[in-house]
């Protein structure tokens, strides 16, 4: 593989204290979440959420699972770049991106269980005699589960390095090409299926979002958000750990990202025009406001990191990354909550306890990322002069 031909600094633990203001804050948020979840698992969903028959999912599914798993596409997007398009120079980005993906997906999988009314029946999903092969939900569930396992295997060399299991790592290395191939295939399947689910919802979804193209839109935005998360994560990590930023990698990667973004916008706008749904975007409502906000977030990066000079500025890359993460998130929230109306006067707004669980989930990711990067060889070793 060409990845080995490039000379990169080997990954190494960042080191430093595990207890600081950030980890303590995250810890408290995780504890709050644990208490709320205890209530939820004992007394049911109605005791802590504002979900109802009209809105059978709330932010736990739309943000923790839909948005969370899209944020977690960094690993997939970078792996695709490195292994499929053979751009070995991006290799140092793989491990941190994979770590973020690992957390994002594992938590998305766990987050689904929070939202299952009768969570004790979840084993039926994997019980061969209970499966429903015609279900989009089943495809998503099985695919995400498989992908989580695949990612843990992809990430396992990090753990093996840490504990000195080098022979095992070498053995695994022989089969890694297959695991990595699977790891790029699976997200393509379920990220598009996450979109298919709203195709299934039919007219309950506003025409600005209800389109048979949704699976493609979800896949493209998942890839875009994957790169955006890597930009975001690199900037935050360098800032927090006072490291230099891998600008020589991020700048060209941002260009790749803009290419995918352009493709997305062509599909998105083309679809709206073809379906004749674009006209509905000009009335005055919450839905149209959110639509324009979503589109603005998708288009703005062209003005912020459109030129090569702009892409060399980490502040601009950071803002561009945030805007695209926001854009993809708003797209998902729009289709699944704001532009979703089952009629009958049902309404939904997340309760404080629901919000605190979602916050807690992000806190788990932050906490886990800090602990693992400080103790396991994930980020590239910092050279002395940098």
């Amino acid at each position: 593989m060409s990845a080995q031909l490039h000379h990169h600094a080997k990954p190494a633990p960042v080191g430093g204290p595990l207890v600081n203001a950030v980890t303590l804050t995250a810890g408290v948020l995780v504890l709050v979440m644990a208490v709320i979840l205890l209530v939820r698992f004992v007394f049911g969903l109605g005791s802590v959420t504002d979900m109802n028959d009209g809105y059978p999912w709330g932010i736990w599914i739309v943000i923790d699972v839909m948005v969370g798993s899209a944020f977690a596409c960094g690993g997939f997007s970078v792996a695709m770049l490195v292994y499929i398009f053979n751009k070995g120079e991006y290799h140092p980005l793989v491990r941190p991106a994979l770590l973020a993906s690992l957390f994002g997906y594992t938590l998305a999988g766990v987050g689904v269980v929070f939202d299952l009314g009768r969570y004790w029946n979840v084993w039926n999903m994997y019980w061969p005699w209970s499966v429903n092969l015609n279900s989009v939900m089943f495809e998503v569930a099985i695919c995400i589960t498989l992908y989580i396992v695949v990612m843990w295997i992809e990430f396992s060399p990090v753990v093996m390095e840490k504990f000195g299991l080098n022979s095992l790592k070498r053995k695994l290395g022989k089969y890694m090409f297959f695991i990595i191939a699977l790891g790029t295939l699976l997200p393509m399947m379920h990220q598009s299926s996450l979109g298919t689910m709203w195709v299934v919802l039919g007219e309950q979804v506003h025409p600005l979002w209800q389109t048979p193209m949704v699976p493609l839109l979800f896949l493209l935005t998942a890839i875009i958000m994957g790169y955006a998360v890597v930009l975001f994560e690199s900037c935050v990590a360098s800032s927090a750990y006072r490291r230099s930023i891998e600008m020589h990698l991020l700048t060209p990667m941002a260009k790749v990202m803009l290419g995918v973004l352009a493709a997305y916008l062509v599909v998105r706008v083309g679809d709206l025009v073809m379906r004749g749904a674009f006209g509905t975007a000009f009335s005055l409502s919450l839905e149209t406001f959110m639509f324009w906000l979503e589109m603005a977030c998708f288009v703005a990066p062209f003005f912020i990191i459109g030129t090569e000079v702009q892409r060399r500025n980490p502040a601009r890359l950071f803002i561009g990354g945030i805007l695209l993460m926001l854009a993809g998130s708003i797209l998902r929230i729009n289709g699944y909550l704001i532009g979703y109306n089952t009629g009958g006067g049902y309404q939904y707004f997340p309760s404080v306890t629901e919000i605190m669980v979602t916050v807690g989930m992000f806190a788990v990711e932050v906490l886990g990322y800090i602990i693992i990067t400080r103790r396991f060889p994930v980020l590239p070793r910092e050279s002395a002069h940098a």
């Binding site: 980490p314 502040a315 939904y348 707004f349």
Partner: protein
């Protein structure tokens, strides 16, 4: 038990037809009803029919003490056309003060004769509470006190059944405000079990459902024993469950829809009567299941719009104020069960909107700070670069 209820050619059936002056259809309906009330398995109605047909009518001695005869009335005044015939035919009612023709010493002689002839085989039914104050002088029949009569008749009885709330624990006569600090009635009314000092089968109710009494007697007739009872002597087939559990208005309770006063909209719509003082949640009886008075579905107090007064339950009926709130013995369904009145969502409130705004604000602020720092360090790096570049260019 080998008999089939569909074996319509057997002799006994013809005999019962002529004896009771009822059609075979009506007779078999009765047997099936009783078997169902008892909660007996399919096929038991045949055994019941056979037992009733064979007409080994057990002798019944029926004593009346402190009571209103409502229990007897409920048996006799049932709308079911042939019920009174069956009552009087299924059992040999040898002594019943309000129904028998005989009077005075003649009546007492009939009782003594029946007791002697059926020694150890007759069924003793007691209706009404038994006064205990002043050696029970407040109720005498033929010169004997209720206490004496109870003990005398119970001595050789095959079974003792206390019918109605009064005989069960003292009922209404025992329930008065405490006098002289003692919490008992002026006459010290007590139930049969207290007088005999041993448990008896009780059929409480004011009045009790006639089918619960008949089913108990038919059970004795069919199987030679009395049905299984709870710790208060009440047959489990009739008093095994709370009224609240089988109430047709239960869904309204679970959904939180209550009649708040008589005649209000909720009351007219048939909502739950809990807040009007219904004692269903703490009273064991099968009223909602079998109804009352053979007048069809929903013909029982709660079905008619009046809260249950808890007449089958000592300490509740006649004791608690009729419109006082009941204590929940086994409460609302668990929260895990789906609700009946699904909420349609509350929308945003101040707390959740504020929480979201705070998180968005914190995230935006953090991002802005980070971007500013990144921008500043980039600027510094650029300046450094240009400084490095300048000397080179000069050189």
């Amino acid at each position: 038990m080998s008999a089939s209820i569909f074996d319509l050619e057997r002799e006994g059936l013809d005999a019962v037809e002529s004896r009771l002056h009822i059609s075979r259809r009506e007779f078999l309906q009765f047997c099936a009803t009783v078997a169902a009330t008892l909660g007996l398995p399919a096929g038991a109605e045949a055994a019941v029919a056979e037992a009733v047909e064979s007409a080994k009518r057990p002798s019944v001695i029926w004593l009346h003490f402190q009571e209103c005869t409502g229990c007897s009335e409920s048996l006799l005044r049932a709308e079911h056309p042939t019920l009174e015939k069956l009552i009087l035919d299924v059992i040999s009612l040898d002594y019943h003060e309000t129904l028998m023709v005989a009077a005075g010493h003649q009546a007492e002689a009939a009782r003594k004769a029946a007791m002697a002839a059926n020694k150890g085989k007759y069924v003793l039914v007691i209706e009404g509470a038994i006064p205990t104050r002043e050696n029970g002088i407040y109720c005498k029949v033929g010169g004997q006190t209720a206490i004496e009569l109870t003990k005398e008749c119970a001595a050789d009885a095959a079974a003792v059944i206390a019918i109605g709330s009064c005989a069960s624990w003292g009922g209404m006569p025992s329930t008065v405000p405490s006098i002289d600090g003692a919490d008992s009635s002026p006459t010290g009314s007590a139930g049969v079990a207290q007088i005999l000092g041993k448990p008896v089968v009780t059929i409480p109710g004011c009045p009790p459902n006639p089918y619960n009494f008949l089913a108990t007697v038919v059970h004795f007739l069919t199987f030679g024993s009395l049905p299984a009872v709870d710790k208060l002597g009440r047959p489990l087939f009739a008093y095994g469950r709370l009224i609240h559990e089988n109430c047709e208005r239960r869904a309204h309770f679970d959904a939180g829809r209550f009649a708040m006063q008589f005649g209000d909209e909720g009351h007219r719509k048939g909502y739950c009567l809990y807040k009007l003082g219904c004692k269903g949640p703490e009273t064991y009886a099968n009223c909602p299941s079998i109804g009352f008075g053979d007048a069809g579905e929903n013909n029982w107090p709660v079905g008619c719009g009046h809260p249950c007064i808890g007449c089958t339950e000592q300490g509740i009926g006649f004791t608690k104020p009729i419109h006082g709130m009941a204590k929940m013995l086994n409460v609302a369904p668990p929260l895990q069960y789906p609700r009946i009145d699904e909420t349609i969502g509350k929308g945003s409130n101040f707390a959740s909107a504020a929480a979201l705004a705070a998180i968005a604000g914190a995230a935006a602020g953090g991002a802005a700070m980070l971007a500013r720092n990144l921008g500043l360090s980039h600027q510094a790096a650029e300046q450094e670069k240009s400084k490095d570049a300048q000397p080179k260019a000069e050189a």
